[in-house]
């Protein structure tokens, strides 16, 4: 039986990396692409997680439906935050998004619908055609959703939506003069980012099979922020890599587990001071280095 134990641990980590990456890529669309600060992403993960937990335990809804509904619920939450954000900028927006996170956690804790302080347990594993997904097969599901989310993010970049995001990030007044409805695109930015969070939340709930309000506190948002800044604002590959690093590092260095929030915040400060582009963001040291290698290889090819 030993091999199963050995396999379970890395697969758990892989699953967690996959779910966190979905939420982080969403956050990166809001913050990196559209330039709208969101320090409360955990709230939307919570909305997704509780939506799916309630729908599957109370109303025995099929997993695929509850996955979509939890994404949708989080998107609605994100749209509301977007509506508020239209009137706020930078630091005030940041504080508001933190506030949203605290409000969401209080609601989860206060109302019996969300299981109060006990949370919701016995969340069923999804099953398809009588085959229950767990372990490697569940990880497979997570990575299918992650791949779809990455495709979505890549499409955003190619589309006019991506250009509208760039425009509102750079200069809202100029964007308005280019017929870009700044209010609408801010709301879309928050809605998409929150929707990704909702999907991640649903996947997290059905993986852990037990969720409680304290899973979605502000410190989770900080963890996701660290991932996005470490990976590089606007970089999808960077965010995925950042997720792996941030999830794995307390696992590798166990004694640091209880100090991890301190370390994340220190990491944020150091990054923002010395390498604000993150690991793989545009113009970051690493991506410039990789680019120079590619250029050199290409030249050598050309010389032959």
């Amino acid at each position: 039986m030993r091999p199963i134990v050995l396999e379970a641990y890395p697969i758990t980590l892989l699953t967690i990396i996959g779910t966190y990456a979905i939420a982080a890529i969403g956050l990166n669309l809001t913050m990196g692409s559209a330039g709208q600060v969101n320090l409360g992403q955990a709230a939307f993960i919570g909305i997704g997680a509780f939506t799916s937990a309630i729908l599957t335990t109370e109303y025995s809804m099929p997993f695929v439906v509850s996955l979509l509904v939890s994404g949708l619920m989080a998107m609605i939450g994100g749209t509301i935050l977007g509506l508020i954000s239209v009137r706020l900028r930078e630091d005030f927006l940041a504080i508001t998004t933190i506030g949203i996170n605290f409000v969401a956690v209080s609601v989860f804790q206060y109302y019996p619908l969300f299981g109060g302080s006990f949370g919701i347990g016995d969340i069923p594993r999804p099953s398809f055609f009588g085959f229950e997904l767990s372990g490697p097969s569940y990880a497979g599901l997570v990575y299918v959703v992650l791949s779809l989310c990455i495709l979505g993010a890549l499409w955003t970049r190619r589309s006019w939506l991506g250009l509208a995001f760039k425009a509102i990030k750079e200069d809202e007044i100029a964007a308005l003069s280019m017929r870009i409805d700044v209010r609408k695109f801010k709301m879309i930015a928050f809605a998409i980012g929150a929707g990704y969070g909702g999907l991640a939340g649903c996947l997290l709930a059905h993986f852990r099979t037990y969720i409680v309000y304290s899973d979605f506190t502000f410190s989770f948002s900080i963890e996701l922020l660290t991932i996005v800044v470490l990976g590089g604002l606007g970089s999808i590959a960077g965010t995925t890599m950042g997720t792996a690093i941030v999830v794995l590092f307390p696992e590798v260095i166990r004694p640091l587990l209880q100090y991890r929030l301190v370390i994340y915040i220190l990491m944020l400060i150091v990054l923002l001071r010395f390498q604000p582009e993150g690991l793989l963001g545009e113009k970051s040291a690493l991506s410039r280095y990789l680019h120079s290698i590619v250029v050199r290889l290409y030249r050598r090819e050309g010389a032959h």
């Binding site: 499409w155 939506l161 250009l163 760039k166």
Partner: protein, 252 residues
């Protein structure tokens, strides 16, 4: 001649300051209309009212007979009113090409068509043509924020053109430029008028205004003090007074 832009009793007050005070102007189709006046005369405020960045305290603005009262900035751009900014506002960290592309694709930002791909040969060709027309072809891959001011002003015009507007409102397009660069912008404006565009141009420099415009309104303290052919307006007593002070007129 049909008025493309017409204002009726347009006023904008900031507290006790009358930035624009009972302004009635007409901008005919396919003309270069100059708005001149000393600093603080209300020229840029007038542009902000026409483009919808500011709401008038009273009075009305018509574009091609349409009352603009209920239209916001985006709605007015959609009708065909494009502008440039006195202090240039390029999307600083994007390339010149991307800047113009964002503007060129403007019909795609309404409804759900923003989901469509922006990588299309037709778009690239359209953008490149505009870049060639305004003389930015050789800097298209440069980051716009690091360009010299002359290029940034051309970029502003390129973006306004890419909106396929009917009227361009140019806010001091020659500001901070050498005389030669300014002349290039003037001839660019003239060639655009030749293509059927209407242009309203704020100009601080009398010599440029004299050279570029078909007709001029002179503003001072928010009110129109003179209107007419360029040489008439620049020789108008009130205009000289506004620029140089009453004492100067008395001496000469």
């Amino acid at each position: 001649m049909k008025a493309l832009i017409k204002t009726e009793g347009l006023c904008k007050f900031f507290g006790g300051i009358k930035a624009v005070n009972d302004v009635n102007i007409r901008c005919e189709e396919v003309e270069i209309l100059g708005i001149i006046g000393p600093n603080g005369a209300g020229k840029t405020t007038l542009f902000n009212l026409i483009t919808g960045f500011l709401r008038p305290s009273s009075g009305r603005i018509f574009f091609d007979g349409i009352n603009l009262e209920r239209r916001n900035v985006v709605g007015r751009v959609k009708l065909g009113i494009a502008r440039t900014f006195q202090v240039t506002r390029p999307f600083r960290s994007l390339t010149v090409y991307e800047n113009v592309l964002i503007s060129y694709g403007s019909p795609n930002y309404s409804g759900l068509s923003f989901l469509k791909s922006s990588f299309k040969e037709a778009y690239a060709q359209g953008v490149r043509k505009i870049l060639r027309d305004v003389g930015l072809k050789n800097v298209e891959d440069q980051i716009s924020g690091s360009l010299p001011i002359g290029y940034q002003r051309r970029l502003e015009i390129a973006r306004a053109l890419a909106l396929k507007a009917r009227i361009l409102l140019l806010d001091e397009p020659t500001g901070g430029m050498s005389h030669e660069e300014g002349q290039e912008i003037v001839s660019l404006a003239k060639s655009l008028r030749q293509m059927g565009l209407t242009i309203m141009i704020i100009e601080h420099n009398m010599r440029v205004a004299l050279n570029a415009c078909d007709r001029i309104y002179a503003l001072d303290y928010g009110s129109v003090i003179a209107e007419g052919k360029p040489d008439e307006v620049v020789n108008d007593r009130k205009v000289i007074e506004a620029y140089l002070g009453a004492g100067y007129v008395a001496k000469s």
